[in-house]
Subunit: 386 residues, 2 copies
């Protein structure tokens, strides 16, 4: 996810969790992608928390954001860092694992256990690299649907996620309205603006400018870490807000003073450099290209007005935006709400007055908990799910 | 400057203009820099427009922004592109060359004729590279002061500029209050915020990640153009606004469609790539590092509150900000205004409702003309300058 906060050990949480894998799409039943290409076999890494009830009507699907993964909560054995939405998912939390069966899967095209550009291409026995097909948000959702089918789940009580996760939620609303009872898109957009595309492109250009990128064929050799670190730096600046950066860093110069000309001497520079470098240890550069491009291509209203896209939705929808989020400005969530209203969808809009910028969807768990808890209660009650 | 608009030939303008050069600071009278180092000899490239009156009381100094130069208006022989503020400087324009003697100089540390990191180091007979000392906004202003002295000018009728140019204006107000009758800082800040520093650092890291950068010692070999282009792309996104990008590009895909995976297929991507590449032809990568660092280090209130820094100002001040400028948000200009008010300075604040973002200071010439024209009239009248 966008920020890496070292949480204190979460004694009220789920404890140790494990990632599972599901493989489908063996030839000739490969997955038809939105691009027209076919891909398979496809492995999807996923985790589950809590237990399904008898009729599997208590299932919540969590969709992760750009740099997230299937590990949404709890701890992996031997690790001290919990999953990326640990403050929202667990016993007694917003997505209450005492009541709901929660699933989170790494997206198709990801680099955390699901099939993506760093996976082995069965045709060549080498990593796909740029031979991997272009993946769309719709393709990610279709892969999730295969997982849900495999788990024997007909209808999801809810599908929720922020940022790129929110795009997947919107795609579920558009593509599979009959399979969801509710949806919670957070800090997201039904289509990237030129500004969002531009920041994505700046990151991609930074990676592709790295000579170690080698047109994506860098596996087994030196990795394009300098380019990837610059891309991540750009991303980080857009995830924060002017105000949150002022509060966190001010103009403080890091201790030790200027070591060298153009070394990082402001705390904010050092922070971004650290974040960029640590990101390189856990993320694949080609995956950066594929996932940002999937977001940039996402445009639910490409063929018809958004309210027509949402015409068949009977699910209840809760849209959450954050005032200081300038990367996914609140007006983009308001456009989603407006389209829902025009389509006659039961939609609630909440704008949280956070100063954290886009990162708020990961940090404002207190406000989000109140909203999500109440919303899921209502959906459960109205659908007689206990 | 930040944007390159191809102007139609400006028949009402100044016609052909030429850049001149002034050299000072020959050893042992080198310039003492803010860092404590000494530099010299120093050449400053400058242009002048209009004529000085008898007592040289009609002089306006224009300070350029990050990627600007001494060529503020008119045309260079054989060139079809006018100077960067051609819409504001000329006969009958805001800075009316029929009335005022206008000077614009390339900053110390620049790469457009003034001494900077790409200039020849007289000690080695090779380009300075990173042997060039760190330059501050104060050093730039001190070099301008030497030029003004050389031209026999005691007091400036006005000093004006936007963005990094605005910082120089603020430095004139703080360092040489007795030598200015008025000042027009535009779309600027008395000190970079962490967000501004972060965008500067992302650009610097992009350049320094380019293996062709070679710790700044790339002269005579391949230039670090990939890194510089990425840095410029990041810059460009921050100079525009979400709204202006929506209006200019929308989600239009450039004609020809997807040539290749991760090629630029949105118009906004192509535009940024073009701008990045054309910037590389005219700008030096080390200069990018030096000038962005000068802006990041700039902090007028480092030693005492800003209103105390402004204590000795008798000049009239006009501060202009733009509503959609999120890189230099209006609150930063308001802080300048507040400090002026507390210091008892005669200050006027105007916030222009533009949608162009930071670029507005170059584009909103109609509104700026009204403000500047009236302001300079008042200053001239009160100081009995004809």
């Amino acid at each position: 996810m966008y920020i890496e906060v070292e949480h204190s050990r979460d004694h009220a949480g789920l404890g140790i969790v494990e990632t599972e894998h599901f493989t489908f799409g063996f030839p000739p039943d490969t997955l038809l992608l939105e691009s027209g290409e076919r891909l398979g076999p496809i492995t999807i890494a996923y985790e589950t928390y809590g237990s399904p009830n008898r009729d599997k009507s208590n299932v919540v699907l969590i969709c992760h954001a750009f740099s997230g993964d299937a590990h949404a909560t709890g701890f992996h054995r031997g690790h001290h860092k919990p999953g990326w939405w640990n403050n929202m998912i667990g016993p007694g939390k917003a997505f209450d694992t005492n009541r709901y069966f929660v699933i989170c899967s790494n997206v198709l095209g990801g680099c955390k256990g699901s099939t993506g550009s760093s996976s082995i291409n069965p045709r060549t026995n080498r990593p796909y690299g740029l031979d991997f097909p272009i993946i769309s948000i719709k393709d990610m959702v279709n892969a999730q649907r295969h997982l849900i089918d495999h788990l024997g789940i007909d209808v999801l009580l809810s599908v929720a996620g922020g940022s790129m996760g929110g795009m997947q939620v919107l795609e579920w609303m558009a593509a599979y309205p009959e399979r969801i009872l509710s949806a919670v898109p957070i800090a997201t957009s039904a289509g990237h603006s030129p500004q969002q595309i531009a920041f994505g492109e700046a990151g991609r250009q930074a990676i592709m400018a790295d000579p170690d990128w080698k047109s994506g064929d860098y596996y087994g050799g030196p990795l394009p870490l300098r380019g990837l670190a610059v891309a991540r730096m750009i991303g980080h600046v857009t995830y924060m807000s002017d105000k949150s950066m002022n509060e966190k860093f001010g103009r403080q110069v890091k201790s030790g003073g200027r070591a060298d000309k153009f070394s990082s001497d402001f705390e904010v520079e050092e922070y971004l450099k650290d974040r960029g470098e640590s990101f390189c240890k856990r993320f694949d550069a080609n995956t950066y290209l594929y996932l940002t491009k999937a977001m940039d291509y996402f445009d639910l209203a490409r063929e018809k007005p958004l309210h027509e896209v949402f015409r068949d939705i009977t699910a209840k929808v809760l849209v959450i935006a954050f005032k200081s989020d300038w990367l996914y400005p609140a007006y983009q969530c308001q456009q989603i709400v407006k389209a829902c209203k025009l389509a006659g969808v039961d939609v609630t809009y909440c704008e949280i007055g956070s100063s954290y910028g886009h990162d708020a969807f990961l940090l404002e768990s207190e406000d989000e908990t109140l909203l999500v808890e109440h919303f899921l209660n209502r959906v459960s009650y109205e659908n007689e799910i206990c």
